[in-house]
């Protein structure tokens, strides 16, 4: 597995959540292919230098969320069947980011129209084809 996982222990976000999010992200982006094997809990713990139980908890969450499946004695694998819906996972990630952005925007006192305007500007900046639609 490529070493795309990095965790920031100093962040306020619990490490296991960071791992969960990053693995979901890897799956969504196709970095982790369907059916690909994940490192063992011990391997990943050593690689990230974090507590193995933290990794174990992340894996349990991922399994609960249907992203991975664990076969006893064989290891953990990215699920092959349609439960891992890349577009859905991607949409979740984007949606979470938008939530944070909008919460910030509201907290500094912007109203919905102002936010929408800002959004359109940002959209054209990041998605060049959107300009064509406008």
């Amino acid at each position: 597995m490529p070493a795309v996982l990095t965790v920031d222990p100093r962040s306020g976000v619990p490490i296991y959540l960071q791992v969960v999010e990053q693995i979901k992200r890897s799956v969504a982006l196709g970095i982790l292919a369907s059916g690909e094997q994940l490192p063992t809990v011990k391997q990943l713990a050593l690689e990230l230098t974090v507590n193995p139980n933290t990794v174990a908890r992340a894996y349990r969450e991922l399994e609960r969320d249907g992203v991975i499946e664990t076969a006893v004695g064989r290891g953990s694998f990215v699920r092959r069947d349609g439960d891992v819906d890349s577009p859905r996972v991607a949409a979740e990630i984007a949606s979470d980011a938008l939530d944070v952005a909008l919460r910030e925007a509201r907290s500094v006192g912007l109203n919905a129209d102002r936010v929408r305007a800002l959004f359109e500007t940002a959209l054209t900046r990041w998605f060049t084809d959107a300009a064509k639609d406008a």
């Binding site: 222990p9 296991y16 809990v41 050593l46 974090v50 507590n51 908890r57």
Partner: protein
């Protein structure tokens, strides 16, 4: 291997309680971090746990049983300062450890010492502080000990070696061994520890799973409106651990239910409301610095 149960532990030195009514449980196969300012009683707790000091009151039990000499086959200890024999070489210490403990692997100890960059032929007095720590760590981690008690195991070590010790700890944890350790390096504790306890003045002031503490504890920040506002009902909530006000900025340290408090602050008229995550350092610093008691915070209108 075993659950450590510390019950109402008290240790007095000359009438002053270094540890006062400490009750703690370290579950099996856990990495447990003990944090606290200097003089908080961490080392004293370790000493009482290992029978190096006699508790004034309370006791420590391993799987419900008292500590016995044979238990030390399975327990490895790295003390805070060097307890090695200055006039003897590292090799002689390896031999001493080999003769004392059945499960000791000299080859592994030598490998670790090499990794730490220690010359085994040297006498201990010729080693730097960090190297002495490295020797103690190497000896402790070569014993297949089911429980490791580490008091500042990275004292004096350079960052590379510190990371190495951390990896060793994680390796042991992956084998299912228990580790209870104290460290001032909050970053290390954040990585390695699953549970932590914070001591101050010999008392336990906070305990819990690191992930849960981080997930639940938040700072809810808001800007008071110009006319001031009442925080009654908010600050009296038991889930608000602290409330700090600086000019118009109000910060609530909540131990649970952050979104709800964000809502209530908004209802009280605050603007610019943010919910801030707390990392372990934040949690620690807030826990040990003198808190303005929430009841002493006067929730009153700011005089214009």
């Amino acid at each position: 291997m075993s659950t450590i149960t510390i019950s109402h532990l008290r240790k007095d030195y000359g009438g002053v309680a270094a540890v006062d009514d400490l009750t703690l449980e370290v579950p099996d196969s856990t990495v447990f971090g003990l944090l606290g300012p200097n003089g908080a009683g961490k080392t004293t707790t370790f000493k009482c746990m290992l029978g190096l000091a006699r508790a004034t009151a309370g006791d420590v039990r391993y799987d419900g049983q008292a500590l016995r000499p044979e238990s030390f086959e399975r327990i490895a200890y790295v003390p805070e300062r060097s307890t090695l024999y200055d006039n003897f070489t590292v090799n002689e210490h390896i031999e001493m450890t080999r003769r004392a403990f059945r499960a000791f692997e000299p080859a592994r100890a030598r490998t670790l010492l090499e990794q730490f960059g220690v010359d085994s032929r040297k006498r201990v007095r010729a080693l730097s502080k960090g190297m002495k720590t490295a020797v103690m760590v190497a000896l402790a981690f070569s014993r297949q000990a089911e429980m490791l008690v580490l008091d500042e195991p990275t004292g004096g070590l350079d960052p590379v070696n510190q990371r190495h010790v951390l990896s060793l700890m994680i390796s042991e944890a992956a084998k299912g061994h228990s580790i209870i350790f104290s460290s001032h390096q909050i970053g290390q504790v954040e990585r390695a520890a699953e549970r932590i306890a914070i001591l101050q003045h010999g008392r336990l002031i906070l305990e819990g799973l690191v992930d849960d503490l981080k997930a639940d504890r938040k700072i809810v920040e808001g800007i008071a409106p110009v006319g001031g506002f009442s925080l009654d009902g908010i600050t009296s909530d038991s889930r608000v651990a602290r409330c700090d006000r600086t000019e118009r900025v109000v910060r609530l340290l909540v131990i649970d239910g952050a979104p709800e408090f964000a809502q209530r602050l908004a209802q009280a008229g605050a603007t610019g409301i943010r919910v801030l995550d707390m990392n372990l350092e934040d949690i620690f610093l807030y826990a040990v610095s003198p808190a303005d008691a929430t009841t002493a915070v006067v929730a009153q209108e700011l005089a214009p």
